[in-house]
């Protein structure tokens, strides 16, 4: 469903340019000739819309339909209509609010350091370095690693009794930490996995944007006596603002959908997200409802709630972005 939400947004943002030439006073006859003339154009784009319809739009609408039913995985079409009851239950469920809270805190713990690190890394890589391509490739390696493989390795590193990190802590005289068992420790551990995986990707995006900043700006700043740090603050960051906004939006969407890491972090396939649900995210809650407890109606409701949350966040981001650019003018 979340894939559907992304593609539908793409489709909508892609459409307006095509709509632009349409004049309001066009007669039906004239419209028909335009249609005929563009027939091949439609034929060429049709496969996309077929695939989009089958694998994005249909599941998207079907999920909404299922969310209005009380139904189980083995009997999806045979549920009973309950209207908005699933939504009412969701909003009064402490499991939902717990998951929402965890998603928010893990999201902040993962996104903020990730983007700051990425910005710093991109800045460093923007200098003329030897073996620059090597560093850039290395940086992208975590992104190319599968979530499952990365999480399995990290969950062993974070192991309570036999994990490398605890062994290291003990070696320097600190106490072992029950990473998986605690609330903050488990959320930090999961945030580390996310950060490790996505920092390089964001750094590359920043780097690309940095390279399109005209050199004259820096020269001018240098002539004015600005230090490297000042240049970074007053030239680089403002020029990167649209890119930063983009990465914030993308990372936020990723954070709301966080699923693989908390699922695999437990190590034994449980979907409860820790002994007291301390790292159960919305995505994991949805999975638990649908595929551990087989209440597919509830899961569909949670999916739609997640979609709404993403819409609100993206909307807020857009408003903030617009206000900022208006303020700049």
């Amino acid at each position: 469903m979340t894939i559907a939400s992304q593609s539908s947004r793409e489709a909508q943002t892609a459409s307006p340019p095509a709509a632009a030439p349409a004049a309001p006073d066009r007669t039906p006859a004239r419209r028909r000739t335009t249609l005929t003339r563009n027939r091949w154009g439609y034929a060429y784009v049709a496969p996309f819309f077929l695939v989009f319809g089958a694998f994005s739009l249909y599941p998207f609408v079907y999920t909404a339909w299922v969310s209005l039913h009380r139904t189980s995985l083995s009997n999806i079409d045979g549920g009973t209509w309950v209207g908005l009851e699933n939504y009412r239950n969701l909003l009064t469920s402490e499991f939902f609010w717990n998951a929402a809270r965890n998603t928010l805190t893990i999201g902040i713990l993962a996104t903020v350091p990730q983007l700051c690190l990425a910005l710093g890394l991109a800045h460093l890589l923007n200098y003329k370095l030897r073996h620059r391509t090597f560093f850039r490739t290395v940086m992208l390696m975590p992104y190319a690693t599968s979530i499952a493989a990365a999480t399995l390795v990290f969950s062993q590193l974070f192991g309570r009794d036999y994990g490398l990190i605890n062994t290291a802590l003990e070696a320097v005289g600190l106490n072992r930490i029950d990473w998986e068992g605690g609330t903050w420790s488990s959320q930090v551990a999961i945030a580390v996995i996310v950060t490790w995986r996505w920092t390089g990707y964001n750094a590359l995006i920043y780097l690309a944007a940095m390279q399109s900043i005209p050199g004259e700006l820096y020269e001018a700043a240098e002539i004015d006596g600005a230090s490297r740090w000042k240049q970074f603050l007053n030239v680089t960051i403002p020029s990167l603002r649209p890119t930063i906004l983009f990465t914030v939006v993308v990372s936020t969407i990723g954070a709301v959908q966080l699923f693989g890491e908390p699922l695999l972090f437990a190590g034994n396939g449980t979907t409860s997200g820790g002994s007291s649900g301390q790292y159960q995210t919305l995505g994991l809650l949805m999975y638990q409802q649908g595929w551990s407890n087989f209440h597919i109606g509830q899961a569909a409701t949670t999916a739609w709630a997640m979609f709404m949350i993403i819409l609100v966040i993206v909307g807020l981001n857009a408003v903030i972005g617009r206000l900022r650019s208006r303020a700049d003018r």
Partner: protein, 444 residues
């Protein structure tokens, strides 16, 4: 133009929807015609859906059957994880297509099949030889696959009667007896088991960092099925908050968790797996299949370190963890041939073979009394008489009602127990959390 483009998209979606629903549409071909025209010698290919290691292939049973019936070809579709297997089985039941001629059913979801999908499977109680078939199985095994109105959705393969495995070397170091007869007398009840645990934990000579039992789950999951009721009432309705079995099991397990008598590991997690070789615990609840698991985790280094004693409270009642059935979807094309194969695979003689070749404990008392089973010993576990120990346990299991949400409810309780041990949560609060989590799993 914009509008017409949207129209196309909608059309595409509608088209795709039609295609999808057509593709998933139910195919309810009646099996009655097939039964009437069943020719046992006609060439037929039977597919068997299995999960994990059901080992019919490794025990050579398919080959043997195909030799006996040259017209039959058997193909197995195995899925490694039973949870994944069940998810795909559910979607196939929902779609009414894609089912194998024979489907393996596990203890974790047999109750769901019994409660919600008994119509989709052949009823073995309606067979001509139903009485004979029933006599082949432990009454509780037959009962677990029976609906309220007496339909039977599958025939039993293996069971998981439980005992208690213990580390002789660790017991010795802690000053406890190591002989299996003496150890068995240490704990005829769970209260005595907890006393031994306290003794072990207090022993200055026990290896540092080792606990008496791997997890509170070991205590909870095995003792919860020793009473008259576990998670369900007689009708199979979940009653986690009122069940006497849950109450007593919670009492033992939460005491152990709160007093720090367990290593507090999550069963089947990475740390748990690593803990076997590290000697992190001295006892673990052992269903028959756990012996193979311990062996695979510890390898040759663990040979002779372990021994097996009866489960605490076993003289009153033993308990079962695991086991499977074979069912025949009634919409299949080869129902009659599939029924013949299932009856053959689950017959006592074949269960003996599966035990000898792959150590799955039989669900048939006749098989369990076969000399090849009853005299079996396990060299890895200090030559423990496994056939005798597990046979006694299997014969003494109560017909505790099971329900469709047992797995989820059990997980809710065992994770809450972990929370007591790792975060010092008050046992009463943890119990409330567990009840809430199980209600969340049941509800909807």
């Amino acid at each position: 133009m914009f509008h017409s483009m949207r129209g196309k998209a909608a059309l595409g979606a509608a088209l795709a929807a039609v295609l999808l629903t057509a593709g998933c549409g139910g195919s309810d071909d009646s099996s009655d015609d097939a039964a009437a025209s069943y020719d046992p010698d006609a060439p037929v290919t039977l597919t068997v859906g299995t999960f994990g290691t059901m080992d019919f292939d490794n025990a050579g049973l398919y080959d043997e059957y195909m030799k006996l019936h040259p017209n039959v070809t058997i193909k197995q579709n195995n899925v490694a994880q039973s949870a994944a297997y069940y998810k795909s089985l559910q979607t196939r039941l929902a779609a009414g297509s894609g089912l194998d001629d024979i489907q393996g059913l596990e203890i974790g979801f047999i109750a769901d099949v019994v409660a919600n999908h008994s119509d989709a499977f052949v009823d073995f109680a309606a067979e001509d030889d139903a009485a004979e078939l029933e006599a082949n199985f432990y009454d509780w095994k037959w009962g677990q696959a029976s609906t309220e109105d007496g339909k039977v959705v599958g025939l039993g393969t293996d069971v998981g009667p439980q005992a208690m495995c213990y580390r002789k070397d660790l017991f010795g170091q802690a000053g406890l007896p190591t002989d299996r007869a003496q150890v068995g007398q240490l704990w005829s009840t769970w209260d005595q088991y907890l006393d031994v645990a306290r003794q072990y934990q207090a022993s200055p000579a026990k290896p540092a960092g080792s606990a008496f039992v791997d997890s509170p789950a070991s205590i909870f999951s095995s003792s919860v099925y020793q009473g008259e009721e576990a998670y369900n009432d007689e009708d199979g309705n979940p009653i986690p908050a009122e069940s006497s079995g849950v109450e007593s099991a919670w009492g033992y397990a939460s005491t152990a968790a709160a007093e720090g008598l367990t290593a507090n590991l999550s069963q089947f997690g990475d740390e748990w797996n690593a803990a076997f070789s590290n000697g992190a615990f001295a006892t673990i609840a052992c269903p028959a299949w756990m012996l193979g698991y311990i062996n695979s985790q510890m390898g040759d280094a663990g040979a002779g370190l372990w021994d097996i004693a009866p489960l605490p409270g076993a003289s009153e009642s033993s308990s079962n963890w695991g086991g499977s059935w074979l069912g025949v979807p009634s919409s299949g094309k080869n129902v009659e041939a599939a029924k013949d194969l299932v009856e053959w695979l689950t017959a006592p003689e074949q269960q003996v073979k599966t035990f000898v070749e792959a150590a799955h404990f039989p669900s048939s008392p006749q098989a369990a009394e076969d000399p090849a089973v009853v005299d079996a010993t396990n060299a890895y576990f200090s030559d423990a008489p496994t056939g005798q120990i597990f046979g006694d346990a299997a014969a003494n299991i109560k017909r505790t009602p099971i329900g469709p949400y047992d797995t989820q409810i059990q997980e809710a309780f065992t994770t809450a127990l972990t929370d007591i041990a790792s975060n010092g949560t008050d046992p009463d609060d943890a119990l409330q959390d567990a009840i809430k989590a199980s209600e969340q799993a049941i509800g909807g």
